[in-house]
């Protein structure tokens, strides 16, 4: 018996295998899949896993909900890897801020443009399944999510009435006009994502790495995403930093903190 045969599956192997299982299940059960690519580390991991799951191909489109407010480094990254990974990229512009709910706090309104962009993409491309990179450890309402999460006609999340999900048996409702969110990274933590990026050598937007004492821990739009103080300029240093930090990952995201329920309101109306 070879050493590989005896080798125990480690934690990253288990996470990878489970995510691949979920992606393949989505492909069997949903006809018009799309993957939401924020250009951030988590959705890069997602694309990486898709290419493994589908034996080197990505058999559905990848959508970047473009607000026009990404960092230049992010656009550069998008254009390079769209080519390199052979992605079928959708990059429609999100509707302007004037179209968002004016009762939301300002930073939340910027994020709400993405919800509108998402609704427009759903309408235009008729997706019945959207794969996104959200994780339970990011945020308390995301911790309550299902792996296959049904959305209502208006894209809304029925947080208080979710289907049971056990033994990898998923409820997949496909009422006309509605879609499912698929969350292959739900069980991963921020550290898992970084360790996997390290192991697989997955490329990233360079803004994650410290420059002049600052780095982005969570990457979003200019104006509502802020860098944190850090000297971690390599993946190894980032992993070490995260093993010892007590600051939450999304501390640099203003929309999470403007009101107690700001993020939940975003989410129940269709945000990721």
């Amino acid at each position: 018996m070879s050493s590989l045969d005896q080798q125990h599956l480690d934690h990253l192997d288990q996470l990878e295998a489970q995510s691949i299982y979920i992606l393949r299940e989505a492909r069997v059960r949903l006809k018009r899949l799309g993957l939401l690519w924020s250009l951030g580390k988590d959705s890069n991991v997602l694309i990486w896993l898709c290419r493994k799951a589908f034996l080197g191909e990505l058999p559905f489109p990848v959508a970047h909900l473009d607000t026009g407010l990404e960092f230049p480094e992010s656009y550069e990254f998008r254009d390079r890897y769209t080519k390199e990974w052979g992605l079928n990229l959708i990059k429609d512009e999100c509707p302007p801020i004037e179209m968002t709910d004016p009762t939301l706090p300002p930073g939340t309104r910027v994020a709400a443009r993405k919800s509108l962009g998402l609704a427009a993409a759903l309408e235009k491309y008729q997706f019945d399944g959207l794969i996104t990179g959200i994780r339970r450890d990011e945020q308390a309402t995301r911790a309550k999510e299902r792996i296959f999460s049904p959305r209502g006609l208006d894209g809304s999340w029925q947080a208080a009435n979710q289907p049971p999900e056990f033994w990898d048996q998923f409820t997949i409702e496909r009422a006309p006009g509605t879609h499912m969110r698929v969350h292959p990274l739900l069980a991963w933590t921020e550290l898992d994502v970084w360790r996997y990026i390290q192991r697989e050598e997955i490329p990233l937007v360079p803004l994650y790495f410290a420059k002049d004492g600052k780095r982005f821990r969570s990457l979003g739009e200019i104006g509502i995403t802020f860098p944190v103080d850090s000297n971690a300029s390599t993946i190894e240093e980032i992993i070490e930093e995260l093993e010892n930090t007590r600051t939450p990952e999304r501390a640099g995201r203003s929309m999470d903190h403007e009101a107690e329920d700001a993020f939940e309101r975003l989410r129940t109306t269709g945000y990721l």
Binding site: S2, L4, D5, L9, D10, H11, D13, Q14, E16, A17, I20, Y21, R24, E25, R27, V28, K31, K52, A53, L55, G107, R136, D137, A140, T141, A143, K144, A159, Q162, P163, P164, E165, F166, W167, Q169, F170, T171, I172, R174, T189, L191, D192, R195, K214, F226, P227, V228, D229, S230, E241, N244, T245, R246, T247, P248, A251, G252, E260, D261, E264
Partner: protein
């Protein structure tokens, strides 16, 4: 605007054993009756192990005081507004922490009976459970129900927390009473608690620090008990099972993809594919680790190809040669039910056993369990949250393992349509049921399919026309048959009404008989299609389950055609006078009037006879058949146009 957040300097008390490599967090579910203190216990556990993220305690204090409450630990997990406003946990959630020994993920589960589906969702992901009980009130209804569900979910490592000891003066007798009660109940389920810990979550006694008030207790604190749990045994040494999730084609190679649930496999291994038992030899293995993979093992998602040209399909189970799963047409299962609409004898369900889906009918309840005392309940239906032993009957053989042998291929989700509404562990094949005695060896036809098809100039296939009575199924089928026949096609019509005068004349219209009706027609259609014929089936087949059954029997050549017309249009046409009779109550269970018709959600073809006339819809059907079944010129035979 939020200021730039600062990453804190490393904590003063550096972790004793910071794992350098990613270590899987040990998943623990916290269960128990509502108000026995689950959320408070978790909050306290995180606080006392110094695991709360920065700013979280302050945020908790703020939202608690906004609601006029003292520090409310439950808000840590009850993140939804409705949960905070109503003071209850609706849904399961997860939170991470670590001890010096290892990381954990704590799964919180709601205690209300109406949120049992969420409790099951949470608990199914756990390796061990903390069952929280109340020292004052003892074991309550949901304590028992949760314990029973833990046993069905296979979560048998249970730590019992006897909470609120402060309300009982920290008296040993109070702890002993709960300990005796809960141990007796668990024993009836074949479980015994690993530890029964007296504690007070509100004050932090025996959570992370030993209680000063309960010197009489010699056992571990909750945190110590967690660190004493042993990891689950690996599944790689069990018998090999890989349920097929999908079939991918790469070049001319077909690969079965899926997750290896148990055992291991290597290149050259001889396998059998259940339920048909066809033999195959492993030619390649791909788990995404690069070229030249030789092995794969339990837990990995793999793509496997075979030397032989095996017929692969989702729902089959790859097993070692000579070690196939059992096969049966009826199963005894122990089930839990989560739907608000009760389960009764005759209910139709989809049994989802790994990736296989079987249309089944509840044949009988062997017993419905009274969860209070584990005696037989005096009821004929299984309500929400109920547990029962049931016989489920299928039209096609089900491949399974008894759950005591191999848990993963011995359990199943129960679905109504696409909704998961319950779960079941398989006890075995039902007694007196006509079990299939091993794989049946088929005799090969002396003329193979390709030869039939070359002579006919077209492929064989089945066009399954479903729709209401009067929608025009038979008319369209007969019209298409005539035209194709005139063009030299080999084409047959299987008409539901005609078949009920012969082959199916012993069958009525109960759910089980409709299932058998569809099964027979599908089997006959399949035989004809295999001999190169185009078969037009005209059958109401009112439910998605019935059509799924037909699809599963016929396989690749199955085309679902919805002959669409609304019930009013059909009733106006009423060619056989059936609608009038049904309205007069002369026909029970008449589809569209007194029995439902589930519209196909993703048919291969829709023929809308209310919108278009019969010649047009007939043309559409013919065009679909030519497009899908005619052989190309390159295939060596002219297409009959």
């Amino acid at each position: 605007m939020a200021p730039a957040a600062t990453l804190a300097a490393p904590r003063a008390e550096a972790p004793v054993l910071a794992p350098r490599k990613a270590q899987a967090p040990y998943p623990i579910v916290i269960v128990g009756h509502v108000d026995h203190g689950k959320s408070t216990l978790i909050g306290r556990l995180l606080h006392d192990t110094d695991s709360l993220p920065e700013g979280r305690l302050a945020e908790l204090q703020k939202v608690s005081s906004q609601r006029g409450l003292e520090l409310e630990w439950s808000f840590l997990l009850d993140a939804l507004q409705i949960e905070r406003d109503q003071g209850i946990t609706l849904d399961t959630t997860r939170i991470w922490f670590k001890t010096a020994k290892r990381p954990y993920v704590i799964i919180d589960a709601p205690g209300h009976r109406e949120f049992l589906r969420n409790m099951v969702t949470g608990a199914s992901g756990a390796d061990a459970a903390v069952l929280v009980t109340d020292a004052e009130r003892g074991v309550s209804e949901q304590t028992r129900r949760h314990a029973y569900l833990l046993s069905l979910l296979g979560v048998t490592k249970v730590i019992v927390a006897v909470n609120k000891m402060d309300l009982m003066g920290h008296a040993e007798a109070a702890w002993q009473a709960v300990k005796d009660e809960v141990s007796a109940y668990l024993a009836k389920l074949g479980m015994q608690p690993l530890y029964v810990i007296p504690l007070s979550a509100r004050h932090g006694d025996n959570i992370a620090t030993r209680s000063q008030q309960m010197g009489w207790y010699q056992g571990p604190t909750l945190l110590e008990a967690l660190d004493l749990l042993t990891p689950p045994a690996g599944r790689a040494d069990a018998t090999f099972r890989m349920p097929i999730q999908d079939v991918y084609r790469r070049g001319d190679r077909r690969m079965a993809v899926g997750r290896i649930e148990t055992g291991r496999i290597r290149l050259g291994d001889k396998v059998e594919i259940a339920p048909t038992g066809q033999p195959a030899t492993v030619a390649s293995i791909d788990t995404g680790r690069g070229d030249g993979e030789q092995f794969a093992r339990a837990g990995q998602s793999a793509a496997i190809s075979f030397i032989e040209d095996a017929a692969l399909a989702r729902g089959q189970i790859i097993a070692p040669a000579g070690h196939m799963p059992h096969l049966a047409l009826a199963l005894r299962v122990r089930a839990f039910w989560l739907d608000s609409e009760p389960l009764v004898v005759g209910s139709r369900l989809t049994l989802r056993l790994t990736t296989a889906e079987h249309a089944v009918v509840v044949e009988k309840f062997e017993r419905i369990v009274d969860v209070e005392n584990l005696n037989d309940a005096d009821t004929q239906e299984l309500g929400q949250g109920g547990i029962a032993e049931i016989v489920l009957r299928s039209a096609a053989p089900i491949a399974f393992d008894p759950h005591t042998d191999l848990p993963i291929t011995g359990r199943a989700g129960l679905a109504r349509g696409t909704r998961i509404v319950g779960g079941a562990v398989v006890l075995g094949a039902a007694e007196n049921a006509a079990s299939v005695k091993g794989p049946v060896t088929a005799v090969d036809s002396s003329v193979d399919r390709a030869a039939f098809e070359a002579r006919n100039g077209h492929r064989g296939g089945v066009l399954w026309l479903s729709g209401l009575s009067g929608a025009g199924k038979s008319t369209v089928a007969m019209g298409a048959q005539r035209r194709l026949f005139d063009d030299g096609w080999r084409v047959l019509v299987l008409d539901g009404d005609n078949l009920r005068k012969g082959l199916n004349k012993d069958l009525g219209f109960s759910p089980a008989e409709r299932l058998e009706n569809v099964r027979r027609v599908a089997e006959v259609a399949k035989l004809m299609a295999e001999n190169g014929s185009v078969v037009l089936v005209s059958l109401i087949s009112p439910t998605a389950e019935l059509r799924a059954l037909a699809r599963s029997i016929i396989g690749d050549g199955f085309h679902e055609v919805w002959v669409k017309a609304d019930v009013n249009t059909c009733a106006q046409r009423d060619p056989k006078g059936l609608y009038a009779a049904a309205r007069d109550g002369k026909i029970a269970q008449f589809t569209g009037v007194s029995a439902p018709f589930e519209a196909p959600t993703s048919p291969d073809l829709v023929l809308d006879t209310a919108e278009f006339d019969i010649p047009t819809t007939t043309e559409l059907l013919i065009a679909h058949i030519r497009r899908n079944l005619a052989l190309d010129q390159a295939d060596g035979h002219a297409v009959g146009i």
